[in-house]
Symmetry: C2
Subunit: 126 residues, 2 copies
């Protein structure tokens, strides 16, 4: 993990990196952009699935899909600084956020983000 | 309630009317026709709502609508002979089944069905 600064030492979770003001701006923008893309995808997919409805089972399939997407998005988009490196790690792994969008974050965070993305990639491959 | 026949007297729920073979055929057909219409309505409504999606909130509104419709339909379409006069009473009240479709049921059942429909109408009006 990162070396502890004076601020971090007084923080209850000592392993969590602190986020500077400019990092928070980068994080918020990347987070919002990813969420927006994800929501657009659900909107597109919902329209497509609805247009393809031929029988009642297709309706409940659509409902199930929407419930799953909502729960997944709720779980995934957790904007707490204590969670954010995991959040971005997952989004990076899923291709929902790019490394470019994270430029401006300190190297300690990028390392944590990349390492969690790598962990998920290996976990998926296993 | 109805007067008890010999068969009904041995039946655990003495107030329930028994259903003859021909009544069961009428009931099944009316039940299935109403369910089919209801499901068609949900399919049509789902397509319409999906086409009208403009923002993420509309997607979750569609999900919520579908969940409610599914739960409502599950609750309403209960094909147990012990429930059937209530089921048809509700469908009659909601205009989901017509009196014509129920022709062939004995008067004791039609009375129960109409009386429950009336009760719901008064309940709604109150």
């Amino acid at each position: 993990m990162t070396s502890l600064s004076a601020t971090q030492a007084s923080y209850p979770y000592q392993n969590e990196p602190s986020w500077s003001k400019s990092e928070k701006i980068v994080a918020r923008a990347a987070f919002d952009a990813a969420l927006k893309r994800e929501l657009r995808e659900v909107m597109r997919e919902a329209k497509q699935k609805a247009n393809g409805i031929k029988e009642p089972a297709d309706v409940w399939e659509l409902e199930h899909y929407l419930t799953e997407r909502r729960e997944d998005i709720d779980r995934k988009y957790d904007y707490r600084y204590s969670q954010l490196t995991h959040v971005f790690g997952r989004l990076l792994h899923e291709g929902k956020v790019s490394e470019e969008e994270l430029l401006g974050l300190r190297e300690d965070k990028l390392k944590l983000i990349r390492s969690f993305a790598k962990f998920l990639a290996e976990d998926t491959a296993a």
